[in-house]
Symmetry: C2
Subunit: 451 residues, 2 copies
């Protein structure tokens, strides 16, 4: 793969992909690592080296003073014991019949792109070959097929796109895929994961969302390991659920598989930004050991059920956060504009100011389903304790139990599109469908603040 003109320095020394090399650059930098396949056709010949830290670096051929193969006992450890940052490489897209068949669907976001080392530009990388070049490890876990269905920043995601992604996922699962990965921008990944959780309530294989908090041009990028973790879950997990797989802690030791209805992006930039709220994660994933450890009982086992998807979402649903002094006209406006559902992110146990009550009552009289969640994020709605809660219950506001506001919003959108009448919708909102309501909180589901 480095046989094109410009790479004579490598061919002359018989250096090939997978070799451990030591490179000295004109500027004095010395780098040692495994030679990777090239990432792109470049005008200026460039090689890519995987460092022992697990990260990749691109080096222009014409900046190299010296390059040599080095032998090291620990090189190419592969599946063996320990946690080698260096994993075996494959050089071409082959199909190994014994390996599971995993489809990777690209929707955009940092994870679905690659860096051209020569230019520093981020561009979509989404053929199977490109993925295997960028993260060759996944080819050892599964036979990969990749398809890019859209290329958007995830803040531009919307219910129509949830449906579009869902249809592609359903197609591949009905064609026999052993698991589907959705590469997604992190900003709204939790919402889309919740959407597919409700759409795919009967599901034979895992649907795995994966993203990246740091782009591949940054030494701290989490994209490669997250993709390895996601591939492990898609290919081998014993459960058939919609999950998000992301770093479990800041270092590279393990990923977590979070249930799609319970996961929330809790930090703007940390690699362990994604966390399960009001529950524990479904599984821990060790990318180097290639091991999946279940932390709780799955909703469904792999290949236990036939696929039956209901991929439809109501678009006229709003998520409204209450704040002191909020004026009721905002509610009136939504009702007048034909909204069919409103999730109110209230305070504490599920409250809003008295000034909203008449407008909420009018909304409900106009057949709008109104659901209450809490802006505290942790805990559970209980509208029986204080007079405000009781008033809201009496006019027909639905308590959102311990659902995330974001999940309640997505669920309401799904429920309104898939039920015949409001009464059925209200009942479904209060019923646990796919783990979005957790009747019992152990004490440790509340995180520990350090002070």
């Amino acid at each position: 793969m480095y046989s094109e003109p410009g790479y004579e320095l490598l061919t002359s020394k018989g250096i090939k992909v997978g070799d451990r090399v030591r490179i000295r650059r004109k500027d004095g930098l010395v780098v040692e690592g495994i030679l990777l396949p090239r990432y792109s056709i470049s005008r200026r010949p460039t090689i890519v080296v995987k460092l022992d830290s697990g990260y990749n670096i691109g080096i222009h051929i014409d900046s190299i003073v010296d390059i040599n193969v080095v032998k090291r006992e620990e090189a190419s450890l592969g599946e063996e014991a320990g946690s080698p940052a260096v994993m075996p490489l494959i050089e071409e897209t082959e199909v190994f019949p014994e390996r599971p068949f995993v489809v990777i669907i690209g929707t955009g976001g940092t994870i679905a792109s690659k860096i051209e080392y020569e230019t520093g530009a981020v561009k979509p990388a989404f053929s199977s070959e490109e993925i295997l070049e960028a993260v060759p490890e996944v080819g050892y876990i599964a036979n990969i097929h990749a398809e890019s269905v859209m290329n958007i920043l995830s803040e531009n995601m919307k219910p129509e796109y949830w449906e579009q992604i869902g249809r592609v996922v359903a197609k591949y699962i009905s064609e026999g895929a052993d698991g589907v990965i959705i590469a997604h921008g992190t900003d709204t990944m939790g919402y889309t994961a919740a959407a597919l959780s409700f759409a795919f309530q009967k599901l034979p294989v895992p649907i795995v969302f994966v993203g990246s908090q740091r782009s591949s041009d940054r030494p701290s990028s989490d994209s490669a390991l997250n993709l390895v973790g996601a591939t492990l879950v898609a290919a081998r997990a014993p459960f058939a659920e919609v999950v998000v797989v992301m770093h479990g802690e800041p270092s590279d030791s393990y990923m977590l598989a979070h249930r799609g209805t319970r996961v929330r992006k809790m930090h703007t930039s940390r690699r362990d930004a994604f966390q399960t709220i009001n529950d524990i994660p479904l599984a821990r994933v060790y990318p180097f050991e290639k091991k999946i450890e279940l932390l709780k009982k799955p909703l469904r086992k792999r290949r236990e059920e036939e696929l039956d998807a209901k991929i439809k979402f109501e678009k006229k649903v709003a998520l409204i956060k209450f704040y002191p002094g909020m004026e009721p006209e905002i509610i009136d406006f939504l009702v007048d504009r034909g909204y069919k559902g409103i999730v109110i992110e209230g305070t504490g146990l599920g409250h809003v100011g008295d000034q909203l009550i008449d407008s909420l009552e009018r909304a409900i009289e106009n057949d709008v389903v109104v659901v209450m969640t809490s802006q505290t994020i942790f805990g559970r709605i209980n509208m029986n304790v204080y007079s405000t809660g009781r008033k809201l219950l009496s006019i027909g506001v639905i308590p959102g139990d311990d659902m995330l506001s974001e999940t309640a919003f997505v669920k309401l959108s799904w429920v309104l599109a898939n039920t015949e009448n409001r009464e059925e919708a209200k009942k479904l909102m209060q019923r646990n469908l796919v783990g979005e309501i957790n009747r019992r909180h152990t004490y440790t589901v509340y995180p520990r603040w350090i002070h």
Copy 2:
């Protein structure tokens, strides 16, 4: 205090308030603890006993089979070593000149009420005498004066009330109070604490918010200890800041003093629901040891500055949470209704869907100040990383740095009411005024999830 008719059982045995008693009830229950002053004038004679757990229980005289004084070495430990749940009692409201003078302002909520043990009803309790009866410990820390300025559930709080409370606080501080406590419902306590933080930027003594997550009729009530902690801070803290004092962990070992601009109610019902976000708390407060431990450098020391309060808030400010597919007409509506400021709780590093950009640009052209915060809660806005952020910056959206959405909302309300023009307002929104922006996050300000 048990000399009225109906309490002959006590007087005949010479039992008095402060005695350790053992009681046997007709139903077989045996209770041992310290006899407290009565909480209310009751029709059915009732005594109140403080158990060793720290909690109080009311017992009808006519249900008592036997009552006796018991001696125990550990009784009435008071200020001594260890963490005795039993603290000394005072029986009347006296003024001790050597003690600091603390004002408690009641606004409503669970903390400002007491239980009538006979009826189980919660009713406002807000004279100095009533507070000293309910939590006699505070009388040992300070001379207490109490005033109830309103009696509302905190979901009904609004900017007009922030001003009303602020004016009363300013009056007492200018009259020489050594500290002011505001008893407040927990639902929106963080918002009001932020409001007073911005209003009282020059402040000689502490302003301490305190609330209660469990009402006094529940054995797990946190009201008494929170009030003791708040009184300690108001009377003795070395700083002059606006803080929230609440349980630091589920048990009764310590309270935390959180800076008013950084505190958020993170759980619907836990006693340690209040947490400092993107920073560490200002101090730890040990109610039994009567000790305050500073955890970080205060903004101002006690009696370092003269009072200079700016107690005015703009009411036409909205806090809008972005969600996938959100329609721009909600922004248009706010602009058309004359809103002067909008805080957008965006995704990730500070993004919203492209569909909102034109409406936000129109808002800004109409002199609406638009500020971006993140729904991830933790972390910091950075709108330079992705194209959406850069677009938003270019139309004039103000990055909210690491401010809480709720604090940014309150700050915008304060800034718009206290500046002459939009440019000055925009500058102030990006300047750290009272700890609401923290330029440096240590790694441990992100809580630890347990899994």
